[in-house]
Amino acid sequence: MTAKIEYKYDDMIHRCFRCGYCKFPTDWSTITNCPTYARYRLESFSAGGRLWLIRAWVMGEMEWTDRLAKIVYSCTNCKNCEEKCPISFSDNLVNMVVAARNAMVDQGSIPSPVKDFLNNVHLHGNPYGLSAKKRDQWIEDSNIAPYTNQEYLFYVGCEGSYDTRAQTAARALANLLLKAGVSFGVLGNQEISDGNEVEMLGEEGLLEELAEKNIRQFKELGVKKIITFSPHSYNVFQNSYPKYGGDFEVFHYTQILPELMQAGKLEAPADLNMKVTYHDPCFLGRWNKQYDMPRKLLKSLNGVELTEMERNKKSALCCGGGGGNFYTDFLGGSEDSPARIRVREAHDTGANVLAVACPNCLTMLEDAVKVEGLEEKLAVRDIAEILNGTVTT
């Protein structure tokens, strides 16, 4: 026995029965809808197994180990478990994992990739450890203006700013907003991490620091409305920033574009001739119940045939990139990595385009397409790219 660990959900975590509903999609078609369970197929990597291990650790029945930390940090916070758990505490399943991470952070016992992620965000404002001065390179020679009291702040986020693939999609979105005459500006080198993954990784102190910095900056600039490129940014601005005093009107871009099209401010490209399947990002879908707008957008495009993967909306399989896993990569390295399973599922629909609305999903799934050797058959495209017509299949 080791010492009892202070844990926020002491009065709740024992209630997990480990019945296993959390592994399934809504229709029970597979037992592998929890991305970490799909990857490892060990009970320890299922939602229930993870909670039982966390309880054993916080009760002092077992010691912290690298593997325990890997099990706790491999959870992508995708909320599939919360959709399926029949017990009344289901809304707190992900919170219980995050609280275990809080406790690990408090002890200074976290896996090195997580430590690197948090250090990089703390030092550079992004998880990649790249210079803050390079944050605006995605803008290149465009006409994207700095934010100076326009109607919207376009918050690009770390992936859109630094990841070369996500930059392309961010530029496409900015171009759409420009074409539509939306009054918006960006923060450029002044932008810092939104803190969503920092929160998911259990670093409350750093989240608070980021939130306060961002809120102060937004308020000083007079920001009232924010358009986010990433659902992760949307989630933290919408759901976590209010408790730090950040009450902004927040939109994910898929909530803005349909209005622009309806108002005739944005013209859809000519006949696209695509069969598209859409992958729901967890932080747009299960976290914020936004399932219809992206589909509505895609359906409105000429020459787009929208087809669904078997697991969609509430039952979508996570790409495996949530909760910092796009960086820490605890789920990679296997044909059972969730992203690889997901692109095979997309390919099985007969689609030639896998549409996404999240830069994490974009990079995770595009990498998976390459590993699966599907580059000639399946293109991964952000919805903004499809609408902008900047990238062909």
Binding site: R15, L42, W52, T65, R67
Partner: protein
């Protein structure tokens, strides 16, 4: 490095074998009241070939092996009582064949009932299988290894009565098939070959089931549930006799519980009724109610309290959350239907003695040939005193089952011991001989069904 671990990792790959404490702790714990029992290794094979290699290795090295399906028995049957290798079967979950016209499916034993149910609903909506009341993660192989029952128990009996063929790996590593598949035919019948049912109900103590041919049944377009209520538990066998006489129900189960209070000490009979048309349903209801149950309504001893309800699968894990405690375990028994009232009364006494609200259910098997009668005891996983109460209640109930002339369903070790104490000596000797013949090194789920 550990040679056993290395051998396992060589067979299944490093990701699917573990000797690390996190997996050992996870797999040491049953969902019920049993104390943890640590395995030494955990392995998750992908197919029969990998599993065969694991078993051959274990037999050669005389290392215990314990197969685990969904882990839903709650009785500690798949706990590694003597350590060794815990084999998680859930990666072997392919649906190999559905023969629609002959109404059977062949699946790998680790296939979850949830997956099979979803597959049939999508691809063969006219067919259904017997899904147990356990959560959807329960596996086909695990369920028949404990003589499970579920949907369609009234017309068709135990799930292990619905088998057309098996593939099993013996403890010594040989792969055997049983039924028509063993002579190169399809998997359409278990009979008429000589009976070699050495694996059903053994809880993995005689071999590991790897493939199962399950009978499928017509799935009617409309499936609904009615509820009939009586106050006197002595009437339940009569009502069930009346209902099973006409044979119009898809399933029948009587239950009673202390919670919610308004139905405390009342006895409900769930009557599942199905049909391809409203006419068919109406015809069935007429036979059940007008022809057989009207007398109870007329004399004021029974009444219909609900009709045409949607059938919702029971979420048994909700039972565990009584007072937010997270735990429950039950004693299941196979009983004559005539024992319902006594089972109920004695169950209430045991529950009251241990300060647990009583919950009892009797599912009809066959035409009232028997019932699976279960007494559930909830406990708070965070309160050892309540766990101990539940454990004592379970043991008392095990004793009760034998005392009332029944048999314990999927007994834990304590229950197995008292069943064997009551068993006719020659039968017990044969059981022992069979076990020793099949498993000469005693590696298969040791501690279970061991003759003293």
């Amino acid at each position: 490095m550990n040679t056993v671990y290395n051998a396992l990792a060589d067979i299944v790959g490093e990701d699917y074998a573990s000797a690390q404490i996190e997996e050992l702790v996870t797999y040491s714990k049953d969902l019920g009241t049993s104390k943890p029992k640590l395995p030494d290794y955990v392995v998750v094979p992908a197919n029969t070939e990998e599993l065969q290699q694991i078993i051959r290795f274990a037999n050669r090295e005389k290392v215990p092996i314990v197969p685990l399906g969904g882990g839903m028995s709650l009785a500690g049957i798949a706990q590694p009582l003597r350590g060794g290798i815990l084999i998680d079967m859930k990666r072997m979950d392919r649906i190999i064949e559905v023969n629609e016209k002959s109404r059977y499916t062949v699946v790998e034993a680790g296939t979850s009932h949830g997956k099979l149910s979803a597959y049939l609903k999508k691809h063969h909506p006219d067919l259904m299988h017997s899904m147990p009341d356990a959560p959807p993660a329960a596996t086909v192989g695990g369920n028949i290894a404990i003589h499970g029952q579920g949907d369609l128990a009234h017309p068709h009996g135990f799930n292990s009565d619905m088998i057309n063929g098996l593939e099993v790996i013996l403890p010594t590593g040989e792969i055997c098939k049983f039924g028509s598949c063993s002579v190169g035919s399809g998997w359409f019948t278990q009979h008429p070959l000589p009976d070699m049912s050495f694996f059903l109900g053994w809880g993995g103590a005689t071999g590991i089931i790897t493939k199962v041919s399950l009978r499928l049944f017509p799935c009617k377009k409309i499936r609904e549930m009615d509820m009939f209520l009586v106050e006197d538990p002595e009437l339940i066998p009569d009502v069930l006799y009346d209902l099973t006489h006409v044979g119009m129900a898809e399933d029948l189960a009587a239950f009673s519980g202390a919670i919610p209070p308004f139905s405390n000490k009342l006895h409900h009979i769930s009557i599942f009724v199905s049909g391809d048309s409203e006419d068919e349903i109406e015809f069935k209801r007429r036979l059940m109610y007008d022809e057989r149950l009207a007398k109870y309504i007329e004399n004021g001893t029974g009444g219909i309290v609900a009709t045409a309800q949607d059938i919702e699968r029971p979420k048994t894990s909700k039972s565990a959350d009584w007072k937010k405690g997270g735990g429950f375990e039950y004693v299941g028994s196979i009983m004559p239907v005539t024992a319902y009232a006594e089972c109920y009364r004695r169950g209430v006494e045991i529950s009251e003695r241990h300060d647990i609200p009583y919950t009892v259910v009797g599912r009809v098997i066959g035409s009232s040939h028997a019932m699976m009668f279960a007494w559930s005891y909830a406990f708070n996983r965070a309160d050892p005193a309540t766990v101990q109460h539940a454990k004592e209640a379970l043991h008392e109930t095990d004793d009760l089952v034998l005392g009332l002339g029944g048999t314990i369903w999927k007994p834990a070790v304590y229950g197995q011991q008292i069943v064997m104490e009551h068993m006719e000596p020659n039968t017990l000797q044969l059981m022992n001989n069979l076990k020793n013949m099949l498993d000469p090194n005693g590696i298969m789920n040791p501690g279970n069904w061991e003759v003293a």
